[in-house]
Amino acid sequence: MKPWYLVLGGALLLGGCQEKLTSPGDCPALCPGGSPQVVDEVLSPIPGSDSSFVGYVQPQAAPALLVSNGLEGFEERAIMRFPPRSDSVAVRDTLRSYTVDSVAFGFTVLARDSMAPGLQLLLYRLPPLIDSSTSYAQVDPAFVPENLVLTVPIPDTLRTGVLRAVVQGSDLARIALTPADSGVLSLGVRLDAPSFTGVRLGASAAGNGGVFLTYATLAVPDTGAARLRTFPLTATFNTSLPAVPEVLDSTVLTVGGNPSTRSLIRFDLPSRIRDSATVIRATLELTPVAPLTGLATDPVRLVARGILSDLGAKSPVESRFGVAIDTVPVGSSATEELEMVRLLQQVWIGESRPAGLLLSLSPELEAASFSRPVFYSSRAADPAVRPRLRVSYLRSFPFENP
């Protein structure tokens, strides 16, 4: 036998080396160390350390405008201001005046109650100088029939999309801009409907705010020609004005609202979990104070984010992976359950961050939802309704047990 036979034979032997070690386990006989033990533990927030803070997203910066006819027991209106529209146009180095043929308004419907028919938006002309300090009471006198510019019906078949309405003819006089207005048009929007309901409209902060489009004819005397021009303007300021300002109750945990409110909840994570446990599930359970109100068929999304450092209301949040999200339907009075195992595992334990979380609505709904979930806090008299974090974890496996 030649040596190369041996080399080849050895290579074949070793080349056939394949490992397949898995066999069925018959516990406890074949389970050294036993089976992993799952422990279920309920953690309560640090008493009195859970609080709500308001003002994260102001109404004028909200991604949506809220308009209702009493959905929450009071009316809510939207106001908007468009940038100045010049009364002349430069043609061949000469400023020339123009004649307005018609005007179109465009609004984006983000949400509505599809079961509520017969909705229509009423557009009112407001004094041009409105801003973030303008209150409901200040503009309420302007919502009178004399200032009504246009009524825009919302088709019953429209669930989301763009509404467009045109003003022409003699109605143009209602929105005529004068030098006294500095060419600025301000509008107020209210909702008219047979039942209490509301709509969420696009806002300038989200890039889908109201549009004011002017169609004009430009006369050029030297040529005798008439030129058509359009002047598109989008609202540079808009906000929602509730008839009744929201009041923050410091004894409960509030989320949402307008301006938006967030709730900070702090826990004391035991070292037995932080140091040596493998967390497999963590559920934040919140008991609502009352059934969730809001626009039917427009649920809210609750978001819990881990905090990077505990700076109270201004605690920076972890947004990469420490996020727990849950959708809450309007009318729900069930205990809210937010699955936040990755937040706990990766942020609190993995990055050794403070065991706190900031509860809010999802960004597209902050200051832009009729719903304002309110939950019991650690100050509740009944311990059963206080917030709680239910953690399921595995204890350190006793590998050393043979």
Binding site: Y5, T22, D26, V279, R281
Partner: protein, 378 residues
């Protein structure tokens, strides 16, 4: 033709036999190694106390006439049965590496070896249903272990008038286990978990052996070994100390005719010394073990004994670490093999095939172990 046959066997058997992963190595310190060369395994291990290319008896080194290095690879295909089901497993091991050689004009020889002391390579999967948060949740657990304990031996031997061979060895028992426990849940709201640890072992042992040649055809070998205890660390923290066994061996070799050599040996190990330590750790315990082997080697050409020898044998033994309290696992096997030398006997290859059966209560397994030994005398 012979070469083609051997090559064909080498090519086919790895497909049948991968190597060895025994369910009887799950408990305690694992599945014990044997420290035997392929040619000894081919005869059931019966010549283990007389073989200079095995690491069992240090006295055998005195029989070495040239510097020799030995490499052994083994593979096995095994069918495992237990109440949870049936599976086929395979793996590959390198259970013995040795370098031995004589010290000129002194009658002594030295050797260094690495052999598997225990093997803890396994992966077991079990399924069950847990009651979590008031509802049933299906779980699948996978426990995986890689590694084991190794026996590093430095030994010397001395020959007295060609009648007595005496040897002494010191052993470093070391090794580590990378162990992992995985649990996955049927309910996706529970995250799968992985827990890992490294268990390391360190111990020290000493062995002494003797071979008495009683005439040209008869010899007796004896072995005594003490392994003291092994320290067990988990991730660098001491968690236990486990007593290791004393080993007593006695072997007889007889050559009734020039073409036939027969041998038998018995090895006793006092693994029960580890019983209390293992139970204190939550284990099942340990039992004393013994192994009886009987085998022979038929040499067709006495002038060229390394050409086409036929080795055969059988063995029966008990395993130290039971799967359940009060039980004892045992194994038996039959073996056959051959080998050859080439390049003026500077190189050699030996092959052994051994069907084995093991059982303990409702747990059993059977399969083949293929062992390939290569020796080089530069």
């Amino acid at each position: 033709m012979r070469a083609a046959w051997l090559l064909g066997l080498l090519a086919i058997v790895p497909g049948l036999a991968g190597a060895q992963s025994s369910q009887f190595g799950v408990r305690g310190l694992g599945f014990p190694g044997r420290g035997l060369n392929a040619r000894v395994i081919a005869s059931g291990g019966a010549f283990g106390l007389f073989d200079s290319e095995s690491s069992l008896n240090p006295a055998t080194l005195a029989g070495v006439t040239a510097l020799t290095s030995i490499f052994t690879a083994s593979g096995a295909y095994r069918t495992v049965e237990n109440p949870a089901g049936t599976a086929s497993t395979r793996d590959t091991r390198f259970p013995l590496l040795m370098v031995v050689g004589p010290v000129r004009r002194t009658g002594t020889a030295l050797g260094f070896s690495y052999s598997g002391y225990t093997d803890r390579d396994f992966s077991i999967v079990s399924s069950s249903t847990l009651d979590l948060r008031g509802g049933p949740v299906g779980v699948t657990d996978t426990f995986t272990s890689r590694g084991g304990l190794s026996d590093l031996r430095a030994a010397g031997a001395y020959r007295i008038h060609d009648r007595w061979l005496l040897g002494l060895g010191v052993h470093a028992i070391t090794g580590s286990n990378r162990v992992e426990s995985r649990r996955s849940f049927a309910d996706s709201t529970y995250l799968s978990s992985v827990q890992k640890a490294e268990i390391s072992f360190a111990g020290f042992g000493i062995s002494g052996g003797a071979i008495r040649q009683m005439g040209p055809r008869f010899a007796i070998a004896a072995l005594v070994r003490s392994d003291g205890h092994v320290n067990v660390d988990r991730d660098s923290a001491r968690v236990a100390t486990i007593d290791l066994p004393y080993t007593f061996g006695l072997g007889i070799r007889w050559q009734p005719v020039p073409k036939l050599g027969l041998a038998t040996q018995t090895i006793l190990r006092t693994w029960s010394g580890a019983n209390s330590d293992l139970m204190a750790q939550g284990g099942v315990g340990a039992n004393n073990t013994f192994e009886v082997a009987l085998g022979g080697e038929f040499t067709p050409d006495v002038q060229r004994p390394y050409r086409r020898p036929l080795r055969f044998g059988g063995r029966y033994g008990r395993l130290p670490f039971p799967l359940e309290p009060g039980t004892e696992a045992h194994e038996y096997g039959v073996s056959v093999g051959s080998g050859m030398r080439f390049a003026q006997q500077r190189g050699g290859v030996d092959l052994a095939v051994e069907p084995v059966w093991r059982s303990e209560g409702l747990h059993s397994e059977h399969g083949f172990i293929l062992t390939l030994g290569i020796s080089v005398r530069p």
